[in-house]
């Protein structure tokens, strides 16, 4: 086992000092998160920005605004839709609302503008309408009509309490977690794979197999690179904790914590998911004749891990539906699915346990199969063995082979 440890240490040390790893582990996610925040702030900004519209006209044909009270600044009354239109065409105003004669009966308002209207302007007009419709009420009552629930507190079924402003943070936390998880397990697994392909093509493998057993080699590589992925993940959790403690003043982050259960369950799924992916990649690397070929093969499996992203709306609309349940149990999709669901709400404990058991059993089987293929294929050069030959090697007790037919039956 000490040789496995030496191999693990080399894989860890030689990769953690690589610029390409540091960039993939920290640079890429930083850029992605920065972009996400940038987009979010630009949108939020434009929704709050009523000034870009300038003055706003309104045409009252229903009488709601006769002797109007609480007229917001920049709101200008027009006699008819035609004069308002002319003012819009002259760019005196940026938009106008028409309150038709039958408004009280139907509730329709026509809005005319050159650009899309910010959410804040609509809120302003709503408040203006409510103030005038309810002008017989007390000011406090008007206040409550405009904002009936202040400071929404959502109590999730897993007991987490969140203010409505922090909903964004609620969605972000698992999303970033999943993102880092995928990135971490995939970069390290692909290092594992390309390392094996390189050792085979440079024939270092010839030396390695006369020095260590294939299991020591496989085990050492998986442990060493797994530690690398773990460091990456922990660094992100740490960075997240720092951002949250510094950013308590930002409404979107208020009340958001990285919950302990998400970390614990997340780490468990990370480890199991990583072992699953890494051992598949190791097997693929061992049977591939070139790095390009191995990437193509491995791409199919890594795609499977990110499938849950395509169904993200289902997680919100139908978290207990059959699709989400299936994704939570299927071993290739469960790590990402469970982590995303943990952010949204509680997962029935029996489902969580079943999911972990299925993933654990699958991982054990795949590690076993991969180790057999790995040992069998280490000294195969040139042509990639056929699927039938690989299955043959799995079924018989395999030893190292130098031609694909060995111990695969004929």
């Amino acid at each position: 086992m000490s040789k496995a440890w030496l191999i693990a240490r080399r894989e860890f040390v030689s990769n953690i000092t690589k610029g390409s790893f540091l960039f993939a582990a920290f640079g890429v996610p930083l850029v992605v998160i920065a972009l996400l925040f940038l987009v979010f702030f630009v949108i939020a900004q434009s929704e709050d920005d009523t000034e870009r519209i300038g003055a706003v006209g309104y045409v009252d044909q229903s009488g709601v605004f006769s002797d109007a009270v609480d007229v917001p600044e920049d709101f200008v009354a027009y006699e008819s839709a035609e004069t308002a239109r002319a003012a819009l065409d002259e760019s005196e105003i940026g938009a106008y609302f028409v309150v038709p004669e039958n408004y009280l009966a139907l509730g329709n308002i026509d809005t005319v503008s050159r650009t899309s209207l910010p959410e804040a302007l609509r809120d302003q007009f709503d408040a203006f309408l409510i103030s005038n419709l309810g002008r017989d009420l007390q000011p406090e009552q008007i206040e409550r009509l405009i904002e009936p629930i202040n400071n929404t507190v959502l109590t999730l079924d897993n007991g987490r309490r969140l203010q409505s402003d922090a909903l964004l943070g609620l969605l972000f936390t698992p999303f970033i977690f999943v993102f880092v998880f995928l990135l971490g397990s995939q970069t390290t697994s692909s290092y594992l794979m390309s390392g094996i392909v390189e050792e085979k093509s440079s024939r270092v493998m010839e030396i390695l197999v006369t020095t260590v057993t294939p299991f020591q080699l496989l085990f050492g590589k998986i442990i060493g690179l797994g530690a690398l992925g773990l460091v990456q993940l922990l660094a992100w959790i740490g960075a997240g904790a720092i951002v949250l403690s510094l950013g308590q003043g930002i409404p979107a982050l208020q009340g958001v914590t990285i919950p302990l259960d998400l970390i614990v369950i997340g780490l468990l799924y990370f480890l199991l998911g990583y072992f699953l992916l890494a051992s598949i990649f190791a097997g693929v690397g061992a049977v591939s004749s070139s790095e390009q070929e191995s990437r193509q093969l491995a791409g199919i499996f890594s795609l499977g891990f990110s499938v849950p992203f395509f169904f993200i709306t289902q997680f919100l609309t139908d978290p207990d539906g059959p699709l989400v349940t299936f994704l939570s149990l299927f071993p290739f999709t469960s790590p990402v699915t469970i982590m995303m669901r943990m952010g949204f709400g509680a997962i029935p404990p029996e489902q969580l346990i079943l999911s972990i058991v299925i993933l654990l059993v699958t991982t054990l089987i795949v590690v076993w199969a991969s180790a057999r293929i790995f040992r069998w294929a280490l000294l195969l050069y040139g042509k990639r063995p056929s699927f039938g030959q690989i299955i043959g090697a799995l079924r018989r007790s395999p030893v190292m082979a130098t031609t694909p037919n060995e111990s695969a039956g004929r």
Binding site: K3, S202, E206, V209, T211, L379, V399, N405, E406, R410
Partner: protein, 304 residues
């Protein structure tokens, strides 16, 4: 002398193809043992079985006194036919890593690597990437990796390929040094002349079977013709005891085939006494290993 490798009636088949058939030989400590044979004869398969990469279908292999395990693997050095070094890693780091895998401490492996690089006149390349080295330099580094951990047995496959005459001499020196310290060397090669002057004993494998086995000199003498080679002047055919005369294949000497009951000594004695003969060279017609090799392979082909 201690037995380093004991190969006892091993056989190995790949499906219906029998790669090695009932092969038996021994390698002793303190000797260079050559493993010869045409391509595809079963040399690589045999080496891989000795190294425990492949398992024989039948037969027993004992290496350094036992069945091979991890501690025995640490006492073996292997130089594969196709060189294996990490390409984009500094030379000294590759050597150190492979040395630690053989049981050296990291410090010790690094110290020895640097010492070997100096010895091989590669000291200035220690921090260079392997891929920046010439083929010959890589070959020397590979050899250093093979002996870095002071093994008791090294198995070297075509150790001189890609080396110029000067570097060939350096590596030869290292191999002899290793033998002088009591190490066992198994050398697989097609360079017959190197076997003739480097190797102590040999096994030749043809079609998976043992074709020749024994001391190099003894094997060559076994194939010796009843003839002597002379270079000089004189009417050779007129000498008593000479059956017939042929020009030697390289054209420089003359082959004198002796009659039965005539010894080479008798001929030499006779020539020395006569004034009408002048001799610059006189030797037994021991065939070159190369000729024996070809002869054995041809016979195998006819016999099959």
């Amino acid at each position: 002398m201690a037995t380093a490798i004991q190969v006892d009636h091993i056989s190995k088949s790949y499906g219906s193809f029998q790669a090695v058939r009932d092969l038996t030989f021994e390698v002793y400590s303190g000797e260079i043992f050559a493993m010869l044979g045409p391509n595809g004869a079963g040399k690589s398969t045999t080496i891989r079985m000795i190294l425990d990469i492949l398992k024989p279908d039948s037969g027993i292999i004992r290496v350094l006194g036992g069945k091979i395990d991890e501690s025995i693997k640490n006492r073996i050095g292997y130089l594969p036919e196709e060189r294996g070094l990490y390409r984009s890693v500094p030379v000294v780091d590759v050597m150190t890593y492979l040395g630690t895998l053989k049981g050296l401490s990291s410090n010790e492996a690094r110290k020895r690597s640097l010492a070997y690089l100096d010895k091989l006149e590669l000291g200035e390349f220690a921090k260079k990437k392997v891929s920046d080295l010439s083929k010959g330099m890589q070959q020397k580094v590979q050899f250093a990796v093979t002996v870095l951990h002071d093994p008791e047995l090294i198995i070297i496959d075509e150790p001189f390929s890609g080396l110029d005459p000067v570097n060939t001499l350096i590596v030869e020196g290292l191999i002899k040094e290793f033998r002088a310290k009591g190490g066992a060397v198994v050398m697989s090669t097609h360079q017959m002349y190197q076997v003739e002057y480097l190797a102590d004993r040999l096994v030749m494998i043809n079609r998976g079977q043992q074709a020749l086995y024994g001391q190099v000199d003894e094997v060559r003498n076994r194939y010796a013709l009843p003839a002597v080679i002379v270079e000089g002047e004189g009417n050779w055919a007129a000498l008593p005891g000479i059956e017939r005369v042929e020009t030697e294949t390289d054209g420089r000497g003359t082959l004198l085939f002796l009659k039965a009951n005539t010894q080479a000594d008798d001929i030499l004695e006779m020539i020395a006494k006569r004034d009408d003969f002048h001799v610059r060279r006189f030797e037994l017609a021991v065939p070159r290993l190369n000729d024996i090799f070809i002869q054995v392979v041809e016979q195998g082909r006819l016999g099959a």
